[in-house]
Symmetry: C2
Subunit: 362 residues, 2 copies
């Protein structure tokens, strides 16, 4: 059997099962956004590691090195945010082909440095090495959280409301647009081959993006903003019973909460917050509502909270100037995970959230 038949979730589960040995200092090992271990009487240490591989997690065709650096830090910040924690220190392994230019490396570092500094995070280690071909960036983020404030994936109860910060689907739309730009840059040349000396008109990156809402979607993809302030505030006020960041896609990440909490969930599709841009896009591409359900890389926070805390959540939303939208409810495990339309009918979700190792549809 090859691992493409097994899928990433099964692989992580297997890893978790093998290492499930308990230890008095381990509060949460594999299976959450970050590990949680006891640091001292009042504080938990959080640790998360992520690896970005060229042509799997990013494409240099449309990711400037500066943004690549920023994004590598952002995704790890997002994991700490999902625990309700405060990020503290960063280590970065950077693996580059020897043909990489120093300009590229400088801008990559600049991106890492600036994003880290925006969140008061210090780079304290890492290493560099040569790569046979692809660029690989591995980040390790440390963070801290008060013992009585940490939020795991496993605390959701039947009856809890399901919330999400910000808007979903813009990042996936942005990637779609960026891929379309690539195609449009290549295609004219192919069409025109054999037409003699006539040079194809090459459209440069951003020129094709005329509508401002498409620019916003592209920004959401190449420069996502981790919800660190939001996660910390939600944890400080003890509002979330379970929390995760939306990296794989809403449904996929909701499934993580449901599995860890041994519950089911229902989500109302028309309640899912999407940007004006994505709304406009959907007018011409109705099937792309799926981008909000399964697109992934939103780096918003998905969490569950008790109904009694609605007023407090409204206050947080106002104070931090961010949408916090009630999109569904936690139900008994036997009911499974369902997305309902306006009429209360269950939608058939054929495409699952992006899952590594399963062969792509494309």
């Amino acid at each position: 059997m090859q691992i493409k038949e097994l899928g990433e979730l099964a692989l992580i589960k297997r890893l978790a099962e093998q290492f499930a040995a308990s230890h008095p200092r381990v509060i949460k090992g594999i299976g959450d956004d970050a590990s949680v271990t006891i640091q001292d009487e009042s504080t938990y240490l959080l640790c998360t590691t992520d690896t970005l591989v060229e042509d799997i997690h990013f494409s240099l065709k449309y990711t400037p090195s500066y943004n690549l650096g920023r994004k590598a830090v952002s995704i790890s910040l997002s994991d700490i945010a999902a625990m309700g924690g405060t990020p503290t220190f960063l280590l970065a392994s950077i693996i580059l082909p020897v043909s990489t230019t120093t300009d590229f490396v400088n801008l990559l570092y600049k991106g890492i440095k600036e994003r880290a500094e925006e969140f008061d995070v210090k780079l304290i280690g890492g290493n560099t090495s040569s790569s046979p071909d692809k660029i690989i960036i591995s980040t390790t983020m440390l963070g801290e959280v008060s013992k009585d404030r940490v939020v795991l994936r496993e605390g959701a109860s039947v009856g809890d409301n399901i919330y999400v910060t910000g808007r979903l689907g813009d990042s996936a739309l942005g990637m779609k647009i960026l891929n379309k730009i690539q195609e449009s840059e290549v295609r004219p040349r192919m069409h025109l081959s054999g037409v003699g000396s006539q040079k194809p008109e090459k459209k440069k990156g951003n020129e094709i993006i005329t509508a401002p809402f498409l620019k916003d979607a592209v920004t959401a993809h190449i420069d996502p903003c981790p919800r660190v302030r939001e996660g910390r505030k939600i944890a400080e006020k003890k509002l979330a019973t379970a929390m995760i960041d939306v990296s794989d896609g809403l449904i996929s990440d909701l499934r993580h909460i449901a599995e860890q909490s041994a519950v089911g969930a229902k989500v109302w599709v028309e309640k899912i917050p999407i940007s004006t841009g994505l709304k406009r896009w959907i007018l011409d591409h109705p099937q792309d509502i799926m981008l909000a359900l399964n697109g992934g890389e939103d780096y918003e926070l998905l969490f569950t909270a008790s109904n009694k805390d609605v007023p407090k959540l409204e206050t947080v939303s106002r104070e931090l100037d961010i949408a916090i939208t009630h999109i569904g409810e936690i139900v008994p495990k036997r009911n499974g995970i369902n997305v309902l339309n306006k009429k209360g009918e269950v939608l058939n979700l054929t495409i699952e959230g992006f899952e590594h190792f399963k062969e792509r549809q494309e």
Copy 2:
């Protein structure tokens, strides 16, 4: 300019300079075996991250997946050992082509698990992802050390003795032998092509290794033993003024200590501890004494200590049943780093320690 002209050291230095912003909780950032940050009143937190890339750091041609898992853990353990610390928790990112078999993955995990358990380390996190082609393993190891016991690279003083644990050069010899086996497996077929139906005699992996000492060298390469007990004992007894693990090669790593401590060093080549096997090998291949100087991946501890502590070091050596060899002395910075022969003549070291990004000689 491409980074191959810059070299890894310059790249790390640049990174370190850019991030040299001080922080009250950062004792040591980039530029040591592990980062050192304040955990509580009496304890420092150690953190190190390493990334192994197929065909750069290992070859599947001669690294069984079980050993690959063990080695990925060992190199991070070795970094914690070099700080005098106790390793605690491990996170592992595993990036695999979708064509990888589950057998391979199972053995890889088995290797990670068993090596970690040998050192009382718990795997608490990580992630898995697909790779476009190469296998990539990224490990993050956490550890702890008492504030008054931590050993940095920067404490060496003029007059200190230079010591190394165990023997050097076996790992590099092992890699050389493994590469020779590969060649011998390929060559006969090439020589015999066109000889009709006569089938080449294919020698299998270990069969070519007849002398036991060559087997030891191969083991040193594919299953190095991190000196965790040794590092901790040396730190507990406050014997080392500076310490590093020998990963890049003796001279290269000695240079790290010298640079961080602002000193020079002299090493007596005939004092460098090498195995009986390497001694025998050198009879036929005299130039391969360089393997002990520049081979790298020994994962022994290189440290400096005051002359007054000779008796205590002898006790440690006896108690832990490991050779601790006096190989040189710290000298003023202006004298540089020199390797001397029996007559006291300075050897000309043309080949430097293995440094990533500089194009290989091969």
